[in-house]
């Protein structure tokens, strides 16, 4: 029989440390490898087709002969739909957060807060499907005829200067929606996707504002609204910016919705009812048919690399803001 020799405690500690840190490193290494692979595969297209031709080229014809890999339509698609969504989603998301955190009765809050967070986990394919079969037909059949036919007719009949001519023509030209699958529909569905992200993070930021600030403000005779916009919102402005940036990050990376409802035309959009092909949808739609190792294949990795860089910059900015915010909190006395 061998005698049982207990491990020294230092050895045990070391052992546990090694196990935990190696598990932690695995995920970091996997991520780094993915990033490396992405840039390695992407390099080919920038090298062979020329960096400026790829970034600033306005023609994305990856399968024609000779193929053209101008990514500007895809980048413009992503940027425009993100901008349009941000215009709708940021005010709505922040207003929702302010309502839940500051105004709602606590019973309503207890019901609304989990509901909004649940909405964040709503499958985006369902949102895409909803946009495709409900919103898109409403837009092309109903809204288009209302705004581009009835409204101009009505305006022309008024026979007022400007309104009966210029404004009527504007409506006729601009509100005609040939297909319901376009940037606007995509932006509406992306808004549904982004609001829960923005509002739940923003709500946390607002709730984190110390109660003493609110009390001080109320005790000085400030009303609820003044307390919200002069004390609570300024005190949580960094958290709110993080919420906005992460919301934008979600919109940019969202694939399913834009794949299903954005229309898919790889052209630079001129108006909000134009169909677009944002970067994630281009990758998702084309990767299956691009031959492995072909230039098209590398071009899609190029798109992915640009997408990755955009979201990386966004998360770096949000990280920077929240770090700065934390530094202030630590510096705070008492």
């Amino acid at each position: 029989m061998r005698k049982y020799i207990p491990l020294k405690w230092q050895t045990k500690e070391k052992f546990v440390e090694i196990i935990i840190s190696s598990v932690g490193f695995v995920s970091v290494i996997v991520l780094l490898l993915i990033a490396f692979f992405l840039f390695k595969e992407a390099f080919e297209v920038f090298y062979r087709a020329g960096f400026y031709h790829v970034i600033l080229g306005t023609q994305w014809y990856p399968t024609s002969d000779p193929p053209k890999f101008g990514m500007l339509p895809l980048i413009a698609g992503t940027l425009t739909v993100t901008g349009l969504t941000a215009i709708i989603a940021i005010p709505l998301g922040l207003a929702t957060a302010i309502y839940i955190a500051e105004i709602a009765h606590y019973k309503i809050r207890e019901f609304l807060k989990p509901l909004i967070e649940m909405l964040a986990s709503f499958p985006s394919v369902v949102l895409g499907f909803f946009g495709m079969v409900i919103i898109a037909p409403i837009l092309s059949n109903w809204l288009s005829s209302l705004l581009a036919e009835r409204l101009p007719e009505l305006l022309r009949n008024t026979s007022l200067p400007f309104i009966s001519t210029t404004l009527a023509d504007f409506c006729y030209n601009k509100f005609f929606i040939s297909s319901g699958l376009n940037m606007f529909t995509a932006a509406l569905m992306l808004t549904v996707r982004a609001i829960p992200v923005i509002s739940s993070i923003a709500e946390d930021a607002l709730t984190a504002v110390p109660r003493t600030y609110r009390e001080a403000s109320y005790a000085l005779g400030a009303g609820k609204w003044e307390t919200i916009y002069k004390v609570v919102v300024p005190a949580s402005v960094s958290g709110l910016s993080v919420a906005v940036i992460l919301g934008i990050g979600t919109i940019i990376g969202e694939t399913m919705i834009v794949l299903m409802v954005a229309g898919g035309a790889a052209v630079i959009p001129h108006w909000i009812f134009d169909p677009i092909r944002p970067m994630p949808s281009a990758i998702a739609a084309e990767m299956a048919e691009a031959a492995h190792g072909s230039l098209h294949y590398h071009a899609l990795f190029g798109v992915g690399a640009i997408l990755f860089l955009i979201t990386l910059v966004l998360s770096l900015i949000s990280d920077f803001i929240s770090k700065k915010y934390r530094a202030i909190k630590i510096g705070e006395k008492v």
Partner: protein, 257 residues
Amino acid sequence: MVEINQTKYIFEIKKFSVFYGDFMAVKEATINIESNKVTAMIGPSGCGKTTLLRALNRMNDLIVTCRPKGQALFHGIDINDKDTDVIELRRRVGMVFQKPNPFPSSIYENVAYGPKVRGIKKRSQLDDIVENALVRAAIWDEVKDKLNESGLSLSGGQMQRLCIARSLAQEPEVLLFDEPTSALDPISTAKIEELIVSLKKLITIVIVTHNMQQAARISDYTAFMYLGEMIEFGDTDKIFVRPKNKLTEDYITGRFG
């Protein structure tokens, strides 16, 4: 708000109770608070003195389950009446909290906050109000060269005086102090106490304190509360020298608490 009667009592509290849900935190307290005097409220933790203090400018409204009952008059007007302008009430009855709580903005902005909320926009007028308030709070000399620095950069005692200045900028008639020195060192405490005594010429002061020496030093009247009840209320000199109630005597001599 319109004044109905002018007595020497600025607050007339009669059989006044405060509930948190079903819990009765203040039990039918009766206390009259005289103008331009310092009234101290003492008692062990959880005796309801802070709750009673916060009822005087309706800060308890912020607590959802909190509900007052009974008579609480400010200048003869029912504080808890639903038609009472709570904004105006809080401007006239200011409050200084236990933990110094300046806003995370500049010293100037901290003091100018109240006047700005009141609608004063002119810079020169704001400058005057800020300087005046800081002078009255005995902190002007320490901060006059750094009005644009953050209020959070000050020491604890300075922050508390900044909070007092912030309240004074609203020209209140009453200042409620909720254990204002419990987070401060003895020197800062002495400065705040001096300040409170100097303020009572123009302002009525109600102070909740755990420090019995402090109550004895600065107050004209003292109220002793225990388990939500107002046990004894009267001249500070009498309460500390010859308390009528056995409980009061036990508490101030340190036999329990």
